[in-house]
Subunit: 380 residues, 2 copies
Amino acid sequence: MKIIGIIAEYNPFHNGHLYQIEKVKEIYPESIIIVAMSGNFLQRGEPAIVDKWVRAKQALLNGVDVVVEIPIAGCVQPADRFAENGVRILNNMGCEELFFGAEHAEYDFMTYAQLVQNLDSTEFSKKNISYAEAFQEAVAAKIGHNIDSPNDVLGLAYAKANLKFGKKLKLNPISRNVAGYHDKSLSPDSNIASATAIRKVLFSKDHNLVDKYLPSYQDLKDEKYISWDDFWPFLRYKLISSDIDELANIYGMAEGIQYRMKKKALELKVEATFDEWLKAVKSKRFTYTRLTRLSVATLVGMKVNDVSLYNKFPYVHLLGFTKNGQKALNIMKKNSEIPLLAKISQQDKDDFYHVDYRAGKIYQSQNYKEQDLKRAPLIF
Amino acid sequence: MKIIGIIAEYNPFHNGHLYQIEKVKEIYPESIIIVAMSGNFLQRGEPAIVDKWVRAKQALLNGVDVVVEIPIAGCVQPADRFAENGVRILNNMGCEELFFGAEHAEYDFMTYAQLVQNLDSTEFSKKNISYAEAFQEAVAAKIGHNIDSPNDVLGLAYAKANLKFGKKLKLNPISRNVAGYHDKSLSPDSNIASATAIRKVLFSKDHNLVDKYLPSYQDLKDEKYISWDDFWPFLRYKLISSDIDELANIYGMAEGIQYRMKKKALELKVEATFDEWLKAVKSKRFTYTRLTRLSVATLVGMKVNDVSLYNKFPYVHLLGFTKNGQKALNIMKKNSEIPLLAKISQQDKDDFYHVDYRAGKIYQSQNYKEQDLKRAPLIF
């Protein structure tokens, strides 16, 4: 019995994800698949289109055996940190191999990780380009070619995290050449489309044919689809109603960007959208994803200290499992150094879990479903 | 030429207010009437039904000569402080007399003020009843009868403030026995109704006959009427997304009420209304108006320090004037110790004016009209 790990967002779960799971089952028919999934706010600083419970259910109905939630302090992070937090969780859950999609599955990610492991990240903040761009340049110099496709970049981040934690996982990149990560339209010749394209169709209300790309459209079709548009009035209000020094405490604030975020929130017309505000705030030194992550941290009030605490005392929230998954959980309980929360207690929510709880309450204000208290793991 | 002061909210301006102004003109045909008016958030912790500019315009069209705004730190306050801030402004604007409505215009408010001036307010917070109730009891003991009608209470507060500032104003209570302050329905036999009754009708969308009670219904009828229902999602979000120690800095927080405010915001259903939340938070020690004032302070992020600063360095914002009013402004400019702001500058908004500016921006998020920057005083 192999225990296989996957780090995913499932925003939403689609045939590309299903394909990856089928690949695992093809190679290891007896495997148990554990997914470390982002919660209601995603790595790139977006709210999830549907909540973590709906997404976990879709995964469990389609071959995944255990879904755990990466806490918000570990998840809404640059790729390297997101990868570290995901890999750390999977290590602790007893995973032996990590499967992930890559534009170039033939890359030797572990070797690349060794080549770039000593890059000094503090150097990248000096030039007049974004951190991400500077890092790309340095990586290309070490490896001999660019690593710039989104899933390859994540793959390298997983490999680096794996190296850091003593190479406990064997890496299995799976080719995902059917749909580009950011493809904006559905391809009629395939039943695989990018999550970006699928979300676009779901938000358009013209859902014709979208079920072709989704293994569980039935579970999705009655959900309210959530986006930054739903939270933007609250983010704007937060920026307007907070003092600059309160904003300075938010995780990720740097170089006085809080002044610019607040100024643009005040200056733009009330009718302005989140995207218009983002565009107004954008500068050379800040990528869009850095700004959207900052936006999530501001929205939920995640402080520097909240992230430090999570890094020191990590935990993981069990969203659901199958009977097959139960076996892995039994093994894991004996070995894990990271507490696995099957239920969020009244005490947890006021203690270490408070930012996740708050994020859930804010998400709930839009989808009207309690996210943490009184929710038991899904069992399939 | 007499300069007459009135302290008002005009929420909205109605025939009862007009009656008061006509009374002044009857006694002093040559008078200049200056009104110190609350801004977009009112003394009792409610948002104004229409913004300060609409209300100032209505006053100027109906006999008032100058309208100035009492800053939010001076306005969203218990009656005594509200009265002090209003009286201080009117003193500085050169007013000689103060007109105000009273349920018992025959009361000798200045004498009553002398009788109760030495009551030690710190004593009222000890008993297991609200401050307001304890104060009422003590006042009745001194004066020999209750002062418990809303306008009489305010009248006594004006008298106390006047005493404190050296009795610069002659007080002129005007009988307002036609409509009770809190009357909830319109009386068909009169053209005077309480602002409470008028607001109720305006919110009901059934505006039939309401113009009978309003001298300027034309200016009101196309406005969006604003209430706590509009701001409640933002207040709830603020309570959910703030740490307890951030809430503790809000002006007026006491006895750990922030725990209760936050707890109820988290526990109630997403569909719960502001009134349901208020009712859930209500306790013997806190009156509803104390809670609504706390709610405004929380919504706009008004800190203890913001109020201390205003108390030390007061200012007043000129909303509009008539040609007749211009004369009083010329006199005032020579004598006032309080700066009169005719325009809010970019610098003001980041400096002493920042809480007013913020309150205006939050109000603007609902009525879509810029409240401070680029607004010049109305001239009629």
